[in-house]
């Protein structure tokens, strides 16, 4: 870690300067809430935001993207997708930072996904330390995502009239030295930073009734829990939970045809394991036909399957699914109930 100081005015200037060379995205206010959005003016940013409706994932894995274009003329020709623009994402909270690290692992290992990788390679992440809990649904402290020691290029901590900037990578170092006017952190800055960080930790509650390291084994022993049927009876299969999730990466692929019926494009879009047709094959057989089994699959993914496969938990405790759910299915509620059932049973 190396530390430097950026005044709030210098931060505005920094954003104004990178806007000339980068697509810049960050938290902005909209209809009483907050979203990640491409900005064109530093004044649009709301760096002190509780949470956003959608995570910044959409800049790395867009809701909809063209994989390639095709034409059926001359025996058929395929054309690659256009190059993504260099991008800076500002104001990423540490929960979302952990989620991006999972996405990096998924798409940049095994069979490499160059569509994701090409965007990721051109994306710089400027994260920001959360100093207050966003609301009653977040449980980042329980999931170990209230802080992050990697995954960012620059990391900001709000010290009132200035930011402490932690440089995470060489790319971050180059960005800040080229576009920002900084000053070295002095003794007073570091004392203030320590005081701010020390004051923040007690404000965040633990919401899980057990240590997160127990989550995979709790889930493994919960395959036959009666809770899944209760969730299935309530679930509307609307897929809001997976649509707002920073770690969900499942997708569908479809062809779109131009009106000339000769040209077209293959498009990838977000999909959801909560939808009825997700595991349905041609001919109509559905391998996960009930909402109960689909809810079980979702929570198993979040707390166990993804961890087993990718060494990162599939849930970062951001609470977005809990906020989005119309029938109050929450990960904190589910995980704690499974723990309670096991304690009662043993």
């Amino acid at each position: 870690m190396s530390l430097t100081i950026l005044s709030k005015q210098a931060f505005q200037d920094f954003v104004a300067r990178i806007l000339a060379d980068y697509r810049v995205a960050g938290p902005t206010s909209k209809d009483g809430g907050y979203i990640f959005e491409e900005i064109h003016d530093p004044a649009e940013l709301c760096m002190d935001y509780p949470t956003t409706l959608l995570p910044p994932k959409k800049f790395l894995l867009p809701t909809r993207e063209v994989l390639f274009k095709y034409t059926r003329q001359n025996g058929g020709v395929l054309k690659d997708a256009p190059e993504p623009p260099p991008t800076v994402i500002l104001g990423v909270h540490t929960c979302d930072l952990h989620a991006i690290q999972l996405l990096d692992t998924v798409f940049c290992s095994g069979h490499f996904d160059i569509h994701y990788m090409n965007r990721r390679k051109k994306t710089l992440i400027v994260s920001i330390e959360c100093l207050n809990p966003c609301d009653e649904h977040s449980f980042c402290k329980s999931m170990g995502t209230l802080t992050a020691d990697e995954g960012y290029d620059l990391h900001l901590t709000d010290l009132g009239d200035r930011y402490a900037v932690d440089v995470g990578t060489q790319a971050g170092e180059q960005l800040i030295s080229k576009y920002a006017t900084t000053k070295a952190a002095d003794k007073e800055d570091i004392q203030l930073l320590n005081a701010v960080i020390s004051a923040k930790w007690p404000k965040f509650p633990y919401r899980l009734d057990f240590d997160v390291s127990e989550l995979p084994s709790i889930l493994e022993l919960s395959m036959k829990s009666s809770l899944w049927q209760e969730l299935g009876d309530r679930c509307l299969a609307c897929a809001a939970c997976t649509n707002v999730c920073p770690t969900c990466f499942c997708f569908d692929v479809k062809d779109e045809v131009e009106l000339n019926l000769v040209d077209g494009q293959r498009v990838r879009m977000w999909d959801s394991c909560q939808l009825d047709e997700f595991a349905t094959v041609a001919g109509g057989h559905n391998f996960r036909a009930s909402r109960a089994l689909r809810q079980r699959h979702r929570f198993m993914r979040k707390g166990k399957y993804i961890l087993d496969a990718h060494k990162h938990l599939g849930c970062v405790g951001c609470g977005r699914c809990a906020r989005a759910c119309l029938v109050d299915i929450t990960p904190v509620g589910v995980f704690n109930e499974l723990y309670r059932q096991q304690e009662a049973g043993s």
Binding site: S2, I114, M117, E173, R301
Partner: protein, 289 residues
């Protein structure tokens, strides 16, 4: 600047230009109608290309403008000479579009994907094949591979069931297999018709016709989802061990490369770890059967 510790190197991403989602074009050189619903397509690979597949693997087949679907390879590696075969049932959008194509038309291809049958491990053993319906399509690849290197294997027993005589696939090959001394073929249909003189009943009713030495027998099955647990009971009833039972499972393999999520069986991506599994590998998976 206060240097507390040196920051990590900028993250290095794997350097690749290869797009795993980009198909290549290949030409359909022959189409053989098989039943009212199934056709066999012979596809010629671009010059110099070899599919290099293993029986049990599948291809992602594109009809541009309609989409892409996973289809098991029906021909054996032993008979692939720059071409391969797909036996396709007209059941969804892509397969219906495939059925409307003519020889000379092109399709998009990705693959082969997945884990096929470890047939080298079956050498020296008796093999009991139990295909049901369209399940013969992937198993035909393995059956012909085994028959083309027949001396390496013990007995070859095939128990094949279809719903009615009109739905029997590869009838000419069934006839040829039935005429061989070194293949024991039993065929049944769920419902016969006025011309049918053979067995009537579901495929599991054929097990009573055979006796085997289970210690040296590999049991292999593929068919509609409902079939597996009944065939497994027959395998166990004959004394075949869990590790010697192989199943090819159908799932919605959309991407073929372990990303899109549709083919998951609990935590297992069928497109990567399957579609061929030994029973021992999947017996702990709630969602497998």
């Amino acid at each position: 600047m206060v240097a507390i510790a040196s920051y990590p190197q900028t993250k290095v991403y794997p350097n690749t230009e290869q797009d795993i989602y980009l198909p290549y074009f290949a030409e359909i050189v022959d189409i053989r109608p098989m039943t009212a619903l199934e056709k066999v397509f012979t596809i010629e690979l671009p010059k110099g290309m070899s599919l290099g597949h293993r029986p049990g693997q599948f291809m992602e087949v594109s009809v541009f403008g309609i989409g892409e679907a996973p289809i098991s390879i029906s021909s054996s590696p032993s008979r692939s000479n720059g071409t391969f075969e797909l036996c396709v049932r007209k059941v969804g959008d892509v397969t219906t579009a495939l059925h409307n194509l003519k020889p000379g038309d092109k399709v998009g291809l990705r693959g082969p994907f997945g884990r096929g049958f470890p047939y080298e491990n079956f050498r020296g053993k008796d093999i009991l094949f139990v295909p049901g319906g369209l399940g013969l399509a992937p198993l035909r690849s393995l059956i012909n591979q085994v028959l083309d290197e027949r001396a390496h294997y013990g007995r070859v027993i095939i128990l094949y069931g279809a719903r009615n005589p009109g739905e029997l696939l590869f009838k000419d090959e069934l006839k040829a297999w039935g005429e061989r001394d070194d293949v024991e073929l039993h065929v049944t249909v769920d419902r016969g018709d006025e011309t049918w003189t053979g067995n009537v009943g579901v495929v599991t009713t054929l097990f009573k016709h055979i006796s085997i030495y289970p210690r040296n027998t590999v049991g292999i099955t593929c068919g509609p989802p409902v079939m597996y647990r009944f065939v497994l009971m027959e395998f166990f009833g004959k004394g075949i061990s869990e590790g010697n039972i192989y199943l090819s499972l159908e799932r919605r393999m959309k991407c073929g490369v372990g990303k899109c999520g549709h083919c998951q069986i609990n935590n297992v991506y069928a497109c990567q770890s399957g579609p061929v599994f030994s029973y021992r590998e999947i017996k702990g998976l709630e969602e497998a059967l």
